[in-house]
């Protein structure tokens, strides 16, 4: 179908990442472990306003187990 509704929700990159994640999870155990490493991202970003940095935000928030990372 030509009118896919996912385009209104997220970008093509996100679409590709979701498909890649599904593919990785469907691999056999050994290959899956190797492939999972290629999908890891611990990206953090912060908005800047007028020369001042804002709060640091995790793109994929890690599971907090008590210790939290202070914003720089």
């Amino acid at each position: 179908m030509s009118s896919a509704t996912w385009r209104t929700v997220f970008t093509y990159n996100k679409y590709a990442q979701i498909a890649a994640r599904a593919l990785r999870q469907s691999l056999k155990e050994n290959e899956r472990v190797v492939a999972e490493k290629r999908g890891v991202t611990i990206l953090r970003y912060q908005q800047w306003e007028n020369g001042q940095g804002g709060q640091q935000v995790f793109l994929n928030p890690p599971e907090e187990k008590g210790k939290s990372k202070p914003a720089v």
Binding site: T11, K14, V40, L43, Y45, W48, N50, G51
Partner: protein
């Protein structure tokens, strides 16, 4: 009487040679040299191990770079065949560096290139062109020089080999940020060889400029596909530049640590010479004192 005097003397200084009160100046220098020697030896061990680590990481990073470059080349082909009708003035600069230091001039090379590009008279860009930075080091340098232009910064990339997930995340955040631009210029370090790198730029077109180009208009495109292509090609370009910059950083760190180890080794041999001379001088003075003391009887 001689025996009692020398015995008294030796009893007075049970410490290491060179602790004689008469050679107080020499002793302080000897202690100092010893401490310095110890610390420089430790530094040399650390820089040597950092160099080893960087060399092994470089091999892996170079393989990833070769693979990533193919994405970038395939990307650029699309843009070569569909040049923009009129080059826009508003460029978004994406600066690629990393969070870690001790890697030579990687971060400053990229920051300088960005500042040069913004101040360029031949190819004028708007003075308030938005800048986005990947990596804390370049962020610190650019926030001092062009702080008003900063829009978005990223970190935690470059700890390990950059993944396509990183590149896709960055591309998505750029798209979502709602910044206005006519084209994107990625400023990164290009891998020339294992001992040299240079700053370079990569142009990425937006969906709008692709739609306008004559090459594209010759084809009947479905509405959404161009947008997908623009987003995906941005992620591709970011991935190619991330891997190449990562490889440059590892090679620069290896060279920097190699030079540091060499300098440390030179310093150690010089200090060792000084220490030995000082030690021998102290011993000679002791002997002279004893002998003159003996002959004075």
């Amino acid at each position: 009487m001689l025996a009692r005097r020398t015995l008294g003397r030796i009893a007075a200084q049970p410490q290491v040679l060179g602790a004689a009160p008469s050679g107080a100046r020499n002793m302080a220098t000897l202690r100092e040299i010893e401490l310095r020697l110890k610390s420089v030896r430790n530094i040399e061990k650390i820089t040597k191990s950092m160099k080893m680590i960087a060399s092994t990481k470089l091999a892996k990073a170079q393989r990833a770079m070769q693979a990533g470059k193919q994405y970038g080349i395939a990307n650029s082909e699309v843009f070569e065949h569909s040049p923009a009708e009129h080059s826009g003035k508003r460029k978004l600069f994406l600066v690629i560096s990393s969070d870690k230091g001790l890697c030579g001039g990687i971060h400053s090379s990229v920051s300088k290139a960005t500042r040069r590009a913004i101040a360029d008279k031949d190819v004028p860009v708007e003075a308030d062109s938005p800048i986005m930075v990947v990596g804390d080091k370049a962020k610190a340098q650019l926030s001092r020089a062009l702080g008003k232009n900063l829009v978005l910064t990223f970190n935690q990339i470059g700890r390990d080999i950059p993944t396509f997930a990183d590149a896709a995340g960055v591309a998505d955040l750029i798209m979502k940020s709602g910044v206005q631009y006519d084209g994107i210029t990625i400023v990164y370090n290009q891998f020339v060889s294992a001992i040299s790198y240079e700053s370079a730029t990569m142009e990425v077109a937006t969906e709008a400029s692709l739609k306008e180009s004559s090459g594209f208009k010759a084809y009947e495109m479905e509405e959404d596909v161009t947008k997908d292509l623009a987003e995906f090609s941005l992620a591709n370009a970011i991935y190619a530049t991330l891997t190449e910059s990562h490889a440059c950083e590892q090679s620069a760190r290896r060279n920097a640590m190699d030079n540091a180890s060499k300098n440390a080794t030179d310093m150690i041999s010089k200090l060792q010479m000084q220490y030995n001379r000082g030690r021998q001088a102290a011993i000679t003075n002791e002997l002279v004192d004893i002998i003159t003391g003996a002959s004075a009887l």
